[in-house]
């Protein structure tokens, strides 16, 4: 989880990713941010987040995103 938080904080240092659960709903992350995050996750966790997994539910909070990474790690 700490690795993911680091990736997110690098992109938006001003956001409290540990508590925020409206990253998409409040437009804190835009499409460019999401692509950057996915590339970093691919590097760091060696999992591929495909386009169909890019949903507000999966990206609204660091926690939800981490759950997605774990799910993909289990699958792969």
């Amino acid at each position: 989880m700490e690795d993911l938080l680091e990736i997110l904080r690098d992109l938006h240092p001003e956001v409290d990713f540990e508590t925020c659960d409206t990253l998409i709903d409040d437009k804190i992350l835009d499409s460019f941010d999401i692509v950057s995050i996915i590339a970093e996750i691919n590097d760091c966790f060696d999992v591929t987040i495909t386009a169909e997994k890019i949903t507000p539910q999966n990206f609204n909070s660091a926690e939800a995103l981490y759950a997605l990474i774990q799910e993909l790690e289990d699958e792969e």
Partner: protein, 530 residues
């Protein structure tokens, strides 16, 4: 049958009456019949195109879903016998099968769109190339009419198909219900491009007459007619005069044309969408909003999140993300990071995918180079803003201007100006001519035309300017009010005589100040032939 024709008003009146008189379970069937009648009147032969899209999408979606079900059932039965690798191999095999159905249907429908929309564009380019190399050979153009709304309904149908492939929605089992989703007539002409998951349930549900909703719908329709007939069609005369006489109207006139066109396009497109959403609302159906006061945007990026929203999200979900996060793109990004450095490497997926999106957006808007250049112009501006963000952040930190009223106004005006400059490609519809005319802004020093009465010579009288100014003030006032909640909710809270006066006033405004007159024919909506 134009939205602005008497025939359409008659058509709507009969539909509303029948819709609430028949049993609720037949309402969606009535809407299907009305949609096909609407399309048949527009062009009988065009029915074949929409039927082909509906049937192929229906069949491919059903096959994709069936393959998925087959896979789940097989895994469930053989869970114990299969190793992890065998399960994965079987899943991959079935996914490939689904992918093939998806691809075949995409190719077929985008192929139809490409043939009817882009064949003559391709021929004109080939002819141009032949002339350039000195060949006398020229190919004749195809006599092919562009079916009404084909870009909209094709994208709507393909969005549904991709959602079924992704497992976001279930495939519709009833062909006729899917036919209604693809052809729902209020949005057939110019969108919005609805998602199956957002629209279907409300489209097929039974709706009892709700006076309040019906009234809200009619208010929205009336507001749409106001924008279209009072503002867009009136200012159109001035825009056309400036665009068509490029010898006379240069320099400051180009600026006036840009600003007038910004107003015309906004009033025309959002007016049409108001009519669409209003009709749907009066029928009890929820259609997604397509605009959120785009001219109040403080950046081009924000503007594109608020203008033609359903098209933007369509391109983001079905083109931008699949390209930017696909495995080859991630590999390319990794390679570029290793070779060219972190900064360049991580930008590559964004730059390339956005390029594809804006190229597609340009081509989607029309089969000519001006739209391609317009699309790529937007891409350049967006990428430049992205790169300038750190600089803006530094400036904002140093000069404490963020959040100040005058600075917000500056940002809003800057966005309107940038978007209007890009739209000159849409106005002149000829790339070299657009550049030449844009250049005259700096070479012809005739800014005095803004106050010396010359603007009376572009086909607009003092009365026209008065009506336009009043319309613009009302438009801005309503937009400002919308920021703090629904204007229609506020109207609904007023005593009945006040409400009646407001409706009657707006109705009279459309009737008296709409751009009619002897021999006048309300123009088509700009997005009609997309």
């Amino acid at each position: 049958m134009l939205f602005t024709s008497y025939a359409f008003l008659g058509f709507m009146a009969i539909l509303f009456l029948l819709y609430y008189l028949i049993p609720g379970r037949f309402q969606w069937e009535l809407l299907l019949a009305a949609s096909y009648l609407f399309y048949f009147i527009a062009g009988p032969s065009w029915l074949l195109y929409i039927l082909a899209t509906t049937v192929t999408t229906y069949y491919a979606a059903r096959r994709i879903e069936k393959t998925g079900q087959q896979q789940k059932a097989y895994i469930k039965v053989h869970r114990e016998q299969l190793s992890k690798e065998e399960k994965k191999a079987y899943k991959d095999k079935m996914k490939t099968r689904q992918w093939r159905w998806l691809l075949a249907c995409l190719f077929l429908n985008l192929g139809i769109l490409a043939v009817v929309k882009y064949t003559n564009f391709a021929i004109s380019n080939v002819n141009g190339l032949l002339r350039a190399v000195g060949s006398a050979r020229q190919f004749g153009f195809w006599d092919i009419a562009l079916p009404m709304g084909i870009s909209f309904y094709t994208f709507q149908a393909l969005g549904y198909l991709i959602d079924v492939y992704r497992g976001t929605v279930e495939a519709e089992k009833n062909l006729f219900k899917l036919a209604l989703f693809v052809s729902f007539f209020p949005q057939l002409i110019q969108g919005p491009i609805s998602r199956f998951g957002d629209l279907a349930q409300s489209l097929y549900a039974e709706h009892v007459f709700d006076a309040e909703k019906f009234c809200y719908g009619l208010e929205r329709i009336l507001w749409g007619y106001f924008k279209k007939l009072v503002i867009a069609d009136r200012i159109l005369t001035g825009v056309n005069a400036i665009i068509r006489d490029t010898g006379t109207y240069r320099g400051a006139y180009v600026f006036v044309g840009m600003m007038f066109y910004a107003l015309e396009l906004y009033a025309d497109f959002t007016g049409g969408i108001d009519i669409t959403i209003g009709i749907a609302q009066a029928l009890g159906i929820g259609v997604k909003e397509n605009f959120r006061r785009p001219y109040f945007s403080k950046s081009v990026k924000e503007y594109w999140r608020r203008w033609h929203i359903t098209m933007g999200t369509w391109f983001t979900d079905y083109i931008f993300y699949p390209i930017s996060v696909c495995k080859p793109m991630l590999k390319l990004s990794k390679l570029a990071r290793a070779r060219l450095g972190e900064n360049i490497g991580k930008r590559i997926p964004i730059y390339l995918s956005s390029f594809a999106v804006w190229l597609a957006t340009g081509i989607w808007h029309g089969a000519s180079w001006n739209f391609v250049v317009w699309g790529l112009g937007n891409w350049v501006v967006l990428m430049a803003s992205q790169e300038l963000e750190p600089l803006y952040a530094r400036l904002h930190g140093r000069f404490d201007v963020q959040g100040r009223g005058w600075y917000k106004l500056f940002q809003v005006l800057r966005t309107i100006l940038v978007m209007s400059c890009l739209r000159t490609f849409d106005c002149y519809r000829d790339v070299p001519l657009t550049f030449r005319m844009f250049g005259t802004l700096f070479t012809e020093h005739n800014w005095h035309i803004l106050w010396d009465g010359s603007l009376m010579g572009i086909g607009l009288s003092a009365v026209d300017y008065g009506v336009l100014l009043a319309g613009l003030v009302l438009l801005v006032a309503v937009s400002l009010l919308q920021r703090s909640g629904s204007v229609r909710d506020r109207i609904a809270a007023k005593p009945y005589p006040v409400r009646f006066l407001l409706w009657y006033g707006l109705f009279l405004a459309v009737l008296l100040a709409g751009a009619y007159g002897i021999g006048y024919d309300a123009s088509q909506f700009i997005y009609n032939q997309f």
